[in-house]
């Protein structure tokens, strides 16, 4: 079905999906403002090309790619985004501190990843996409998507067991 490029059609598509897109943007960028910026950029581009985007099999995935690319652009322009989180504490901790530390360790691990790799982690573990779908969203080989996830797991494991915050 071809959707004509009208504000109504675009808005009808976007509005119910906006919260999901913002959550995805936030997890990929790690920043409230950067998430808004990345989603703004992606939607502006999607609107401009809506006649094309809307006819794709999975417009949602395409827009997520746009969000990721927008963040990569900002990353390249400004370098690594600093996201202050608490230092993960190695060793055994009682609940609920342990859970909080784990969450922060995850956030810190994500903050240290290059944007495409971070997006792969979000797509895999938040969006529950399989590797083939991740590869389509990120426009990369499936092997690269697997590699992104594998390396992220190694990084988190190292971080948790060594206390290395990097």
């Amino acid at each position: 079905m071809v959707t004509t490029m009208t504000p109504t059609a675009f808005e009808t598509w976007v509005r119910p999906r906006l919260p999901d897109l913002l959550r995805f943007g936030y997890l990929v960028t790690g920043s409230y403002d950067a998430a808004q910026d990345a989603v703004q950029t992606a939607l502006a581009s999607a609107y401009e090309k809506w006649e094309h985007v809307s006819t794709r099999d999975h417009p949602e995935q395409y827009v997520r790619r746009m969000i990721t690319n927008a963040h990569i652009s900002a990353w390249r322009a400004h370098g690594r985004r600093q996201v202050p989180v608490a230092e993960p504490t190695p060793g055994h901790l009682p609940d609920p501190s342990a859970a909080i530390a784990d969450h922060d360790a995850v956030w810190r691990m994500c903050a240290g990843l290059p944007p495409q790799q971070r997006a792969a982690v979000v797509l895999r573990f938040y969006e529950d996409l399989d590797y083939a779908e991740i590869a389509r969203v990120l426009d990369c080989p499936e092997a690269t998507a697997r590699s992104h996830i594998h390396r992220a797991l190694i990084r988190l494991r190292t971080q948790l067991t060594s206390g290395d915050p990097s």
């Binding site: 370098g79 784990d102 990369c140 988190l156």
Partner: protein
């Protein structure tokens, strides 16, 4: 703690992401682009006050683009049978009221090299390296980041990315050389340096307690600052500063278009090559040249490509830093190839006039990137280069 299994880690990541997703913004912070207030303007720099992007009138982009690149680039490499203008005879240079960019200003030693940024060019001694400069990034709340010692730098003839040196003068540009800069305190170089476009530095002269002197002048819209205890050196460098439309390395200050500004012949030997790199605001970030031998090697390694896929154009996306390789032939013809550091591909206008993509290989990257300290300092390789043997020729994304 016990070493967690992959399943443990996956569970932890899922929980952590769910937890943090709850902190995500609940509104876009701007009207939808379909609201009528939007200019979905891909030409606007993505980082330039992006929160105002949707309300920015198209005129803003038009102004940014129109001055003066459209005309100037067309003059540099024209369509059809026209030739590639050499920097010294460029119409651009003749139109520019300032000096011929390739002409060495009086008093500048023969072995000094030119350095340009955003249309301003200076001349520096050949041994000087490359580094950063105080800059402002929106992710830091617009605060100036002064990398204190500005400690990440590269040397001429090397792809090594080094830390602070007490003996290497350098050229600095407002680029995030390393995330290590963030949070660093202020300071000033302890070595001679010239820096372009530094934020929070006003024109004038300042003497520090260690005897270092800063002298800053505005050249056009770009601040040029020289740090040195040697007044003659400061004057020599600052007096060499000029506005240019095409710099001494043949790079236009506004990015060229591969399709429109390349002429090419299957015959003729490549005799020269320049690297012209542009930031996402379309500013010429830096340029260098390579030897005729390197140019010939490069040209030979970029002859086979695949036609551009459907929907792709020769105009690369502006959301990435862009590198253009300027190749000139003995015949006077030449071409601009676009190299995308983000995906490791060239877009080239081939001898038949088609636009083709050429995958990066060691053979076609080495001639301009290997042991090129400027490339190492300012061009970040994308994920494509993670496993490539030539990754070391580019800066890591984290510095």
């Amino acid at each position: 703690m016990n070493t967690p299994t992959d399943n443990d880690l996956e569970t932890m990541i899922r929980a952590g992401l769910r937890r943090h997703a709850a902190d995500a913004p609940t509104d876009l912070g701007a009207p939808l682009p379909s609201s009528g207030e939007v200019t979905a303007d891909s030409d606007l720099p993505t980082h330039a006050h992006s929160r105002l992007r949707w309300l920015a009138p198209a005129a803003a982009a038009a102004v940014a683009i129109a001055v003066p690149g459209g005309i100037l680039v067309r003059n540099l490499l024209s369509d059809g049978s026209a030739t590639v203008a050499s920097p010294s005879t460029s119409t651009l240079a003749q139109q520019n009221p300032t000096r011929d960019p390739a002409a060495r200003p009086a008093g500048i030693p023969a072995d000094w090299r030119s350095e340009s940024y955003a249309g301003v060019q200076v001349w520096v001694p050949p041994t000087w390296g490359w580094g950063g400069a105080p800059a402002r990034f929106d992710w830091n709340g617009g605060e100036s980041i002064d990398c204190a010692s500005w400690r990440a730098y590269t040397r001429p003839g090397s792809s090594a990315y080094e830390q602070m040196s007490a003996d290497l003068p350098y050229v600095g540009r407002p680029v995030m050389m390393t995330d290590a800069c963030a949070g660093a305190g202020g300071g000033h170089p302890s070595v001679d340096a010239v820096i372009f476009g530094a934020v929070a530095i006003e024109p004038g002269t300042e003497t520090y307690s260690d005897g270092m002197v800063r002298e800053t002048r505005n050249v056009g819209s770009v601040g040029v600052t020289v740090f040195s205890k040697d007044a003659a050196l400061r004057a020599q460098i600052l007096d060499s500063a000029s506005e240019v439309s095409v710099d001494a390395n043949g790079c236009p200050t506004v990015a060229p278009d591969v399709g429109k500004h390349s002429t090419w012949s299957a015959t003729g030997e490549a005799t020269g090559m320049s690297v012209c790199a542009y930031d996402q605001s379309d500013r010429l970030l830096f340029s260098t040249t390579s030897s005729p031998a390197a140019a010939a090697t490069y040209a030979a390694a970029t002859t086979k490509g695949e036609p551009l896929g459907e929907g792709r154009t020769a105009a690369p996306a502006k959301e990435y830093d862009r590198v253009f390789i300027r190749v000139t032939l003995a015949s006077g013809q030449g071409r601009f190839d676009h190299f995308s550091p983000s995906d490791g591909q060239y877009v080239v206008r081939d001898a038949a006039g088609r636009l083709v993509t050429v995958a990066a290989t060691e053979a076609n990257v080495a001639p301009w990137a290997k042991n090129n300290g400027a490339v190492k300092a300012y061009v970040a390789g994308g994920s494509w280069s993670d496993s490539a043997p030539w990754q070391r020729w580019f800066r890591g994304i984290l510095g």
